[in-house]
Symmetry: C2
Subunit: 378 residues, 2 copies
């Protein structure tokens, strides 16, 4: 026998999470998650899931019947959209203005489909005109995929205009709303979004590990018309929906064991969002961003993203010349228990990403962040 | 705006979970999970992950460097093994003696590989001689895949003999240990298992949603020699390992946001297992099974699986003639807060599955189950 390693129970420090996610989790959500586990086919659990579905629909502002939470993080949500909708050989216009657009491209290629990339500089929003040109030049394209709120740069793209373009060109739109959901205006039905995925750990302030998704009737029709099987068994939505919605008989069929306690947590976080009200939550993020923004500018920090395209919930600022990136973040973490994010991809070592997501978007957090940065940068 | 649905906080009843999983979760694990969320790149979290890796290695009895928890349930662990190891056109011997062997076959086909199925009746262990014959008849087979503990029937197969056969025929073994890990003898290194996956929600008595996996050096070599990219981005282990082990520099690279709180829970559940000791845990499952077995037989219930091949932690018994399956389970749930499992697949409506998994394998649970069944069946 290999002997057992010795470990004490893990006791994490209490941090203030103002990075790119996970964000600060509502105390109520942590408490909800610790409630006793029950069976994933228990009628009481199943009733909770019906409520959860309605709450996800509210957050997305959709009446789509195929609305659920994928039992894995946001990147699995992304993969869920691509593997269920896109078939080998099909053409997808992919907008790339940061890490997650590039990840979309990789997903398209792993499906055996063709990605036509529309590039923008990191920190820029997706250029709507360039997308219009690409759609016109590729009449055989079946999908338009883009990131609504690019977590790697803090740029917000015009989802409404992009989805309208997709519709004009008979394309199904696939939208990454990992960082946008709950933090900024997002209207799935009104804007005609066909497939959308998000993450639990950003502006919903739930624990990481789940990915809310929703598919329009047109997207569902595309799935049903597939000629090839979905390459992933685990993410195959036609199988998963047997569990989430049940058959005509009302009986839910087993697909995989649902992450019961994480779903309790998501239910509670969406419930808190529904009580605050989506529009109030969007406004709170915008307000807190303004306070943070003025404070950061007073410290001489410059934003990566131009004001018009800036996400309130993800503030990327350039690291001033001569400042040691890692040392600053280490001091913030060790001396103030404050986490801010490092730069990612093209911005690694060049920018910090300060998150104001969900429960983290509060005056006390903004004040802590500004004062701690002022002291550490002094 | 679509208006917000009204939901109260969800308050699950306290159940005793004696189905096929999720099993009763240790109270310590629920408490661990509710600890404050910290960042997935926080040095304190990363140190916890190092401990967690050692604890998973202990549970599997392996020194495999590529040992981690997939950020999704056991069926994603299954898919992780198949999509990372098996390439299109390769041949896999798949043993099918229940639902999960069939699911393996579907995974093989979705990879574009060839499944050669060795069938056994539901309730039987995998026939080692039949596998030897199949391996001899298919010298081009590269993999042998089987389920160690078939959750749909309660049959235990001889993993040691099957993996020895695989080795003789130069095949990589892929083993489903979702229900076996922690409940019955399992020795990854000693038995020469190459790829193995399990689930958090069975004999580990952790919350559902994670899948511990481990890959031998031979399996890792096979992955590295791939000619085609892994079809899943989310499950691509070469990318995931950049986060779990870090590069040579010791820096961990971001892949996806780890399910932080669920990993706290897994750490705590494996810590409790390491304190009890694996062999003690195996013995406890065997002992509780004997008590339950005698009680069930005294009630006139007959086991699906022959005594020699029976899993202690999953007891499938035939529903007596004239008994209303759904009504009995409903009464147990509503009157005793006791969950037992329905039959699955070929055993749907014909058997109950009574779990004795992890924290649920205690005298008080066995007593409750026997007395409640006695009263309901009276």
């Amino acid at each position: 026998m290999l002997i057992a390693p010795y470990s004490e129970s893990f006791n994490p420090p209490r941090r203030t999470l103002m990075g790119p996610g996970p964000s600060d989790v509502y105390p109520e959500v942590l408490a909800a998650q610790a409630k006793p586990t029950i069976g994933h086919l228990d009628p009481v659990f199943v009733a909770m899931m019906d409520e959860l579905k309605a709450l996800i629909q509210y957050a997305f502002q959709t009446t789509n019947a195929m609305t659920l939470a994928v039992s894995a993080p946001g990147s699995a949500g992304m993969e869920t959209c691509f593997v269920n909708l896109v078939e080998p050989g099909e053409k997808v216009i992919v907008c790339r203005n940061g890490v997650f657009g590039e990840r979309m491209r990789q997903n398209v290629e792993r499906v055996g489909a063709i990605a036509v990339v529309v590039d923008n500089e990191w920190g820029e929003a997706v250029n709507v005109d360039a997308v219009a040109t690409a759609l016109a030049a590729n009449p055989d394209a079946k999908f338009l995929a883009f990131v609504h709120a690019e977590t790697s740069t803090g740029a917000l793209s015009d989802a409404k205009a992009l989805c309208a373009l997709a519709k004009q060109h008979d394309c199904i739109s696939i939208v990454d709303a990992v960082t946008s959901l709950g933090g900024v205006e997002l209207r799935v039905d009104e804007w005609g979004i066909d497939a959308i995925y998000s993450g639990s750990q950003k502006c919903l302030s739930c624990v990481p590990g789940l990915s809310p998704v929703s598919f329009s009737p047109a997207a569902v029709e595309k799935m049903k018309a597939r000629k090839t099987p979905v390459q992933s068994w685990f993410l195959d939505q036609t199988l998963v929906m047997g569990y989430w919605t049940g058959e005509a008989s009302g009986k839910r069929s087993y697909h995989h064991t649902a992450p019961v306690n994480a779903l309790y947590a998501l239910h509670e976080s969406l419930r808190l969002l529904s009580i605050e009200g989506l529009e109030h939550a969007w406004q709170r993020h915008a307000d807190m961003h303004q306070v943070l923004r003025h404070g950061l500018e007073a410290l001489g920090l410059k934003f990566v993203v131009t004001e018009a395209d800036r996400l309130p919930q993800l503030n990327a600022v350039y690291i001033p010349d001569g400042i040691d990136d890692a040392k600053v973040r280490k001091q913030l973490l060790e001396n103030y228990n404050l986490e801010i994010g490092a730069g990612l991809g093209a911005l690694a070592g060049k920018a910090w990403r300060i998150g104001l997501m969900g429960y983290a978007a509060r005056r006390e957090n903004v004040a802590l962040c500004l004062k701690a940065l002022e002291e550490v940068l002094a």
